[in-house]
């Protein structure tokens, strides 16, 4: 994977005129595994979206080190997926490889095999023929991971991927994320579970009071910084939630 780091240089984002975070400088090295932490409303999702170019920067710049849009795999927090759409689990996974499929959505045996392997990898092989509305929330999350597998992205961004999942599912999917990391992919994940971050993520970006504290996890996640990040008094207690 021959690309440079994703770098933020004194970057800042403002939504509707209100700054979310400012003066953020740091970089995600190729093949690194970084968690993004911070209180609700700190701007974690906004950071991912800024990297993808979905929200404009108010200041500074973000460099992608030669990465193209199709090198990113992204699992957003708020998903506008039409679960009622009549499409099978297999077709949904094949959709991740839509660049490789031809007219009529024809997929080569190799691509089909990859899709079957991806479903196996997330433990959905028995559900392959089902329609997507016949999956539980956790199974559906597994499906989205399988589709991410198909895209073969070199940078994978996950926004709270394990929220509302039970422990076995979380463990399975976390293992998959670590496998991606071992393959040399860059991982950026928004997480709330500090134990998870400490045990699996060498680097962390802690968003706190409109600033980013960036570095090695053990050094950044101290009781003091966490206290400040999660107890920063806001103007009004209800002003911090998503609009």
């Amino acid at each position: 994977m021959s690309h440079g780091a994703i770098g933020l240089d004194d970057a800042g984002v403002a939504l509707n005129g209100t700054p979310v975070w400012q003066h953020v400088t740091g970089s995600f090295a190729p093949g690194s595994m970084t968690a993004i932490a911070g209180a609700n409303g700190a701007g974690k999702s906004t950071l991912l979206r800024a990297i993808l170019g979905e929200v404009p920067l108010a200041a500074g710049k973000i460099t992608l080190g030669g990465l193209r849009a199709q090198d990113f795999g992204y699992l957003p927090q708020a998903r506008i997926i039409d679960r009622a759409f009549p499409i099978s689990v297999t077709d949904m996974v094949l959709g991740g490889a839509w660049r490789q499929t031809g007219a009529f959505g024809a997929a080569s045996p190799a691509v089909r095999q990859r899709a079957a392997d991806a479903l196996c990898r997330v433990g959905l092989e028995k559900q392959a023929g089902r329609m997507i509305d016949a999956l539980s929330a956790g199974q559906f999350q597994r499906l989205l991971f399988a589709r991410l597998l198909m895209t073969d992205a070199s940078v994978i961004m996950l926004d709270e991927p394990f929220t509302a999942l039970d422990a076995p599912t979380t463990q399975d999917l976390l293992a998959l994320v670590r496998e991606w990391h071992a393959q040399g992919r860059t991982i950026i994940a928004v997480l709330h579970d500090m134990h998870q971050i400490r045990t699996c993520f060498p680097h962390v970006v802690l968003l706190s009071g409109g600033q980013a504290i960036w570095g090695e996890t053990a050094r950044i996640l101290t009781p003091g910084t966490l206290q400040r990040a999660y107890e920063t008094p806001q103007a009004t207690p209800w002003a911090g939630g998503p609009a």
């Binding site: 795999g73 039409d82 009549p86 499409i87 949904m92 959709g95 009529f104 997507i132």
Partner: protein, 290 residues
């Protein structure tokens, strides 16, 4: 014997009936699958809006050609339909109105404008033709146009199948994988517009959307798989064309409405008879049981 003969005799005897039959089979084949996707995307209203939006374009074509010219009116209709699709997309991006709300206000404007333009120059008969079509007066060039549009739309649908379906299920994903999801959306709206234009010579601007929506709604009641759903929708449209024409011939009724009403009858029947129809909705609920 005479009952059976009644099924094919009108088509064997009259050229205009044969052309009408070919026209409605062609329309059903193209509009059926497009209608299914339109409904699955919860854009039924938008199909309706587009069909109205085509009217002023067709009317301007009518003025420019100085009469009922298929080419001029077709081109005008396509231009107007795409224009409204773009404009509505733009408005909903700029304001916080939902896409269908902005469509609704455009299409009422378009309808009024179209009727105004046609009635300023043409006769009431012209107006009736533009609004409700003349399926019994379809000629060779019109048939070629319909066949061309159906071929193009089936070809395009199959060609962009997976990205289009992905764009329907999960628009965010397509945006993320660096594709222009908006491009597939526009190609799809283009398909809607050309299929409506194909239908309007035969069924008029107001009823051509019926051939798109009613068979699709019927098909959705019978299957939950996408491809069979599209095939069934096309089949319902084509069969309704055949049946509607026969009914109109034997009972001396207007052909266009007969075709659409046959679609409606199929829908009504499916609503009552299909497993996903009315019977499915009647499960016991703790709020209803006494």
């Amino acid at each position: 014997m005479s009952m059976l003969a009644g099924l094919w005799e009108p088509f064997a005897t009259f050229g205009f009936m044969r052309r009408a039959l070919v026209a409605s089979i062609t329309l059903g084949m193209g509009a059926g699958p497009v209608g299914v996707l339109l409904q699955l995307r919860r854009m039924s209203l938008i199909g309706d809006a587009m069909s109205h939006a085509i009217l002023p374009g067709a009317a301007i074509g009518f003025l420019a050609a100085g009469g009922l010219s298929l080419t001029a009116m077709g081109l005008g209709g396509i231009a107007a339909g795409l224009g409204v699709a773009l404009l509505a997309g733009l408005v909903s991006r700029r304001t916080h109105l939902a896409e269908d709300a902005s469509f609704a206000s455009f299409y009422l404007t378009s309808l009024a404008l179209g009727v105004l333009i046609v009635s300023a120059r043409g006769s009431n008969i012209d107006l009736l033709h533009v609004l409700f079509g003349t399926i019994l007066a379809i000629d060779g060039p019109a048939l070629y146009l319909m066949a061309g549009i159906t071929t193009l739309s089936l070809f395009l649908l199959s060609f962009i199948w997976r990205p289009l379906v992905m764009e329907c299920v999960d628009p965010g994903f397509m945006r993320m994988t660096g594709s222009r999801g908006a491009l597939y959306h526009m190609v799809f709206l283009f398909l809607v517009v050309i299929n409506l234009v194909a239908g309007f010579e035969a069924l008029g601007t107001l009823m051509s959307v019926g051939m798109m929506m009613v068979p699709a709604a019927t098909a959705r009641l019978w299957t939950r798989r996408l491809v069979p759903m599209m095939a069934l929708s096309a089949t319902v449209g084509m069969l309704a064309g055949f049946t509607g024409l026969l009914v109109s011939y034997h009972f001396r009724l207007a052909a266009g409405p007969c075709i659409i009403l046959t679609c409606s009858a199929a829908y009504l029947f499916s609503l009552l008879a299909s497993p996903a129809g009315i019977r499915a909705g009647g499960g016991s609920s703790p709020f209803r049981s006494h």
